[in-house]
Structure formats: structure tokens, C-alpha cells
């Protein structure tokens, strides 16, 4: 019997997302280190409920040690910005994270900001 694909949600029912392009200054870091630190910071600042509402996802393909794209809910962009600037050290390496730009689509984020860093 052929397995049916699960139907995707209608556009109006899907949650609105934002793709944030992040620049990492001063040191190159690993993907795992970055993920764990960002998650820790968000949990510390906004708690588990805030973390769940934020719907955070780090897009692995875009990570190259100096820049990365992170997806989150459109209502929590400011919260993520604050979490990012609160990070000053990752595994004893002094870093400074800054948000380069915000876009509604991954393609837009790549074309407008990611490729221009």
C-alpha cells in the first residue's frame, strides 16, 4: 500500500517566521558551541515557555563560523536580538554577535544580507 504524504498546513494557518542573519566577530566558533550557547542564553532570559514560543531554529547549512541564519517567530525578533547581544563569551572565547538583517524568507535573507557580509 502506498503511503500518503501528510498534508501541509494552509498558508493562513502557518506561523509567521523571520530569518535573522547573524555576524560573529573576533573569533571563529563551532556550530555545536554556538547552538548550545544560544539555547542556554534564551532559556536563561525567557525560560522554557519563551523558548517554545520563540520557535528557534538555527539553519546549519548557513553556518560557517563567522555568519549564520537563525529562524524564529515574527513576534520574538526583538527578544532574539537581546539574547544575541547578551552573549559575550562562547567556551572562553570572547565574541560579539550582531544582527545584520531580518527577512521574511530564507532566500531574501541570503540575497539581501548573508551574501553581502
Amino acid at each position: 500500500m502506498k503511503r500518503k504524504k501528510p498534508k501541509t498546513l494552509r498558508l493562513s494557518l502557518r506561523e509567521k517566521k523571520r530569518y535573522i542573519v547573524i555576524k560573529i566577530d573576533f573569533e571563529e566558533i563551532d556550530f555545536e558551541e554556538f547552538c548550545s550557547e544560544l539555547k542556554r542564553k534564551v532559556l536563561e532570559l525567557f525560560g522554557l515557555v519563551g523558548y517554545a514560543k520563540m520557535n528557534l531554529k538555527i539553519i546549519k547549512d548557513t553556518f560557517d563560523g563567522k555568519r549564520v541564519i537563525v529562524r524564529c517567530s515574527h513576534k520574538y525578533v526583538e527578544h532574539l536580538r537581546f539574547a544575541l547581544i547578551s552573549i559575550d563569551k562562547i567556551k572562553k572565547k570572547k565574541v560579539s554577535l550582531s544582527c545584520v538583517g531580518v527577512s521574511g524568507t530564507l532566500k531574501g535573507a541570503k540575497n539581501k544580507f548573508y551574501n553581502k557580509i
Binding site: I85, K94, S96
Partner: protein
Amino acid sequence: MRKFYDLHLEYKKEYAKELIERALDLGFSGICLVYRFQNLYGIKGYLRDIEKLREVFKDNIDIITGVVIEWNKEKSLLEKIIKLRRKVELIFVDSKGDYKINRFACSRREVDVLCNFWDEKGIGIDHICIRDAKENNVFFELCFRRYIEDQNILIKFRNCALVFKKSNAPVIITSGARDIFEMKKGRDLASLLSIFDYDLEKSIKAISTTPKSIIDENRKKLKQPVIGVEVYEDEKEKT
């Protein structure tokens, strides 16, 4: 495009150039290298250094002079403020949470920014301070470095945001950075207020147009030979 101004970067002669270069990278249009007041001889040296830096970075960034005056019992605060008013563009008063100093600073038009105003119990200001601050153009500073030093300060920032939102108080956001690692982008710093349901547009203004207006106003005042007297140079300006 928005122009961002960071009005509080701690001045140290060795790091000053690095700070300015980093500010250029982060897209700031102007920065204030703030000197912690010790004595008048120190001020002279500071102003000389700033002049040199202004010549180097003439076209790229606006470098603003500012002094933080800390309250101590030895010398009266007013005496210091009057001495420094015509020498620097911005005067900060660090009250260390003393309500009397907060009240005094808010009631003086010579003071531009009140920083570190919260005390152990609360935010250290009340509606009278805010009313006086509005009248005398004194701005309350929310400094990001305070949060990095002590994370519990976030509760006070939240209370401040609530009060500022209700009373429409004059507020600015600064980084308070001592080195290049502590410097943050202007738009990112605006999130310090906006995460507490403070209006996003107003919190962006607290680091862009509001600081610009303070500087413009003070530069205009410094050009006046006597307070209230303006000198016109062009014929067109007369009309």
C-alpha cells in the same frame, strides 16, 4: 537611513582609536567618549586628545565630548557642573542611586544625562523627578553594560520601561562600553527597551534621533557667548 549615536563609551587614551574604528564598523554616526571626572587638569588632556582624534576621523564619524561626574561628599556637585558646562558637550551625573542627587540632577538644566539612578529598593526616581527632567531636558540613561555586570538589573530596567512608557519620560540607551567587545550595534541595543513592551519606534529613537537632538541643542548653546544670546554670521540667517 537611520543614524545611530552611542553617547556613552568609556574613554581610555590607549583604546580610544580602537573604539572609534569599531564604532565605524558597527555603523554609528556619532559616539561620545566619556571621561570620568577626576580633576580639571585631566579634562584639559582629554579635550586635547579628542581634538586630535577628531582631525583623524574628521569625515567619518562625529566624536562628542562628555564627562561623568560622580557624587561624593567632598566637593559640591553644582560647583563641578558649573565649572565643566562650557568645556564639554555633554554632562552625565552618576548618582549611584541617591534620591537626593537624582532630584537635584533632574532640576538642573546644566545636566544632560542622569545615569546609574536606580537604588537597591527601586528605580530611584519618581514622578517629580520625571516632571523636572522633562522641563529641564535631562535624559535618563539605560546602560547595557550595567546588565552585563549584574544580570539582576534587568528587573530594574523593566520597571523603568514601565514608568517611562506611562509618563513619556525622556530616555536614551547607551552601551557604556569599555572595550571593543562590549560595543553593540545601535539597532540591537534598542531591544533593551522594546523587549519590555516599550514602543519599538520610541526605543529606536532613544538611540538615534534623541541623542542627536541633545548634541545639536548643546552645540548651539556652546556657541552662545552668554546664555540666551545667539551670534548670527550669515546675512540670510538674520531673516
